[in-house]
Every structure is written in C-alpha cells, then in structure tokens.
Symmetry: C2
Subunit: 202 residues, 2 copies
C-alpha cells in the first residue's frame, strides 16, 4: 500500500531467489535505490543476457559460451578420465581445487524419487552414450555426486550402469571423511563411519 509498485516489483523478484526472505529482499531493493541508474541498467542487462549468451555443452552438459565447451576442447586435459557431478557449480569448485585435470559430465540433478526425479530426468543416459561412443578412450570415471542420500543413490545407479556398459572402466567415488580443519569430537556418526571405511595406508 505505502510501497510504490516499482519498489514492490523488485522486492518480489528478489524474494523469488533461493535463500532470500522478505526482509533481505526489502533491504536489497532499498539499497539499489541509492545506486546510479547506470549500475541498475548493467545489472538488468546481465540478467537479460544470462541465458541468451550461454549454451549447454553437448558433450559434458556444462554451461559455457560455446559448444563444445572450453574444457571439452582443451587438448591439454586428460580426456580418458571423466568426473561426474550434479551441478555446474560443482565443476567450478573442482576446478578451483586445481587437482583435477580430466574432463567432466554434469548431470544437472540427482535421482530423487521423493521429488519425482528419476534417472531419465537427468543426463545419465547421455553419460552412458558418451562411454559407448568413445569406448576405448575412457579409463576412469570419478563419481563426485554429493555425499547425501540422493547423491549416494545416484552414484550407485551410475556405477552399475557404467559397469554393465563397459566393465573395463575403473569406477571410483570421491573420498568421504572428515573435512580439513574439522574436529573429530563434533563429527556426526555417518561421517566418522565413512572416514574409518575410507582410511588410507601410510
């Protein structure tokens, strides 16, 4: 009522973002009222061109500027190792770690029966097809879905499918255990179980 429509519209747009509640949406909107119009236009343009100027790579399904993406066309990378992740952001996180030099496959989700997401709703079929197509090329597949219930189930499903397709491929699961800097005392039981199972030889 006392909020102008232009302000309310922006509050509504912010509120639709994940993790942004009504108070934060208000705060962000009123902050932007003090920002020069040029900044607002720049923000608006980035929003409008976000999807127009990006494509899904038809090989790994990462979001990129070109198809195939920069990673899939990089000849310095190890094309015999594929790392399977749930989301494009997971690729960024792994790239930042600077330890992985192979290529990726982005599932864009996880098997999640409670939310009606089965194997066909995410890019698992495309992964199997990829293995079929370059059969002798792929030596290892690292399954790096999240260590959640759904992520583990997805990993298990993929491992089974890939093994059925090509038993020669080495299939590994990303290590689970205590994160660096953690305190054993505060770790939950399942993490400790996994940490014991995944113990390494000195």
């Amino acid at each position: 009522m006392i909020i102008p429509k232009a302000v309310q519209n922006l509050i509504d747009s912010f509120e639709r973002l994940p993790g942004v509640g009504p108070k934060t949406a208000q705060r962000l909107t009123f902050y932007l009222l003090h920002v020069p119009q040029g900044e607002l236009d720049k923000f608006a343009n980035s929003l409008q061109s976000l999807k127009k100027d990006t494509v899904l790579c038809s090989i790994c399904y990462m979001i990129g500027e070109s198809d195939p993406c920069g990673i899939c066309t990089d000849s310095r990378r190890d094309h015999s190792t594929i790392c399977v992740v749930e989301q494009p952001l997971d690729v960024l996180a792994l790239e930042k770690s600077e330890r992985y030099k192979g290529i990726y496959h982005v599932l864009h989700g996880k098997i999640d029966p409670l939310n009606n997401i089965g194997p066909d709703e995410i890019f698992i079929g495309q992964l199997i097809q990829r293995i079929k197509n370059k059969k002798p090329g792929i030596k290892e597949m690292i399954i790096a879905t999240n260590p959640t219930m759904e992520g583990e189930a997805t990993a298990m499903y993929i491992a089974k499918q890939v093994k059925a397709q090509d038993p020669e491929i080495r299939i590994t699961r990303i290590g689970r255990g205590l994160p660096i800097g953690a305190d054993l005392e505060y770790a939950d039981e399942i993490t400790l179980q996994r940490a014991l199972e995944g113990r390494n030889e000195y």
Copy 2:
C-alpha cells in the same frame, strides 16, 4: 576462465549487493539459469524502472509513487505528530506495527562524523524548515532514529535544533529497553541501563 562472460557479469552484479558474498552470488546466478527467460526479463525490468518510477516526497522525503506521497496526503492521519526516522525502510517497519497514525520525516542517514556525514548531508535542515512553515500545526515529534551511537547523537542534535526553533513542540525519543521475547540474562549492560531508565509506572 571457465565461467562464461554472461554468467560472470551477473555474479559480479550480485556481489556488489550488501551482504552477498562470492559464493551466494554464484549460487543465485546458477539458480537463475534454470528460470524461464520471461522471469529474467521481469526481474530486469523491475531493476530498470526502480528509480524511474519512484520519487522522493518533497514533504517527508519518503520514497513514493507521487509527490507528495500517500502518507502526507492522507487526511485520516494525524498531521500534528511527526516521526523522524533514518531510512525509508524504518517507515515500513513502523507502519507494519499499526500503532502510529501520524506522519513521517525520513532523514536518509544519520550524523556520522567518522564517515564524513554531518547534519547538512541528511534532511535535518528540511525538517526544521517544515516546522517553521507549519508552526502551529505540529504538536509532537517522536525521534525514532536507531538506538546506536550515531542514531542517539542524531536524535540529540535534532531535539536541540527543534527546541531552539519552537519550544512548544513536545519532543520524545522512541522507547529503549528489552525487546519482547528477550532474556534479561543475555541482555547487554547498556540495554539494561536504558531499560531501567525507561521504566514505566504501573
């Protein structure tokens, strides 16, 4: 490097918002990749028209659709009481409480010498002018700046100025003490001091 420019631009825009760090900016941007283009366009339009479709009320300096604003032109409100607040959001908060039926004056800041903000940088002069212009009309002024160091100093400065202008006006400061639902045990000393000073007769 592996992030497309269109994506990076939006991450940068989000990062400029207060309280949004690099991780949140990434998360919001990748979320928006899954949103229909129509939603993105709507968001972009709200950003572009935010400042174009709003004006500052020339009486109370609240952000509104028209000048004077809806509150200043509302004849059902008590125009003899002015509540002085720091920010437009404070008006929304007070309106939500549904206890205040007077009019407002938005300072758009507080006196903050450490950040080079003196009385002339905020709308204090305009408040004094307002009192001068409608001298017999205003009976009470509630100073509702924040109970912070700068807010208290601003309140004190305004009280002095208004008293010098018109000693007849009743000047009050919004009550300070324990917020509802708080625990005395965990309250800080200054809050407790204020709560004791501001005790009420039964």
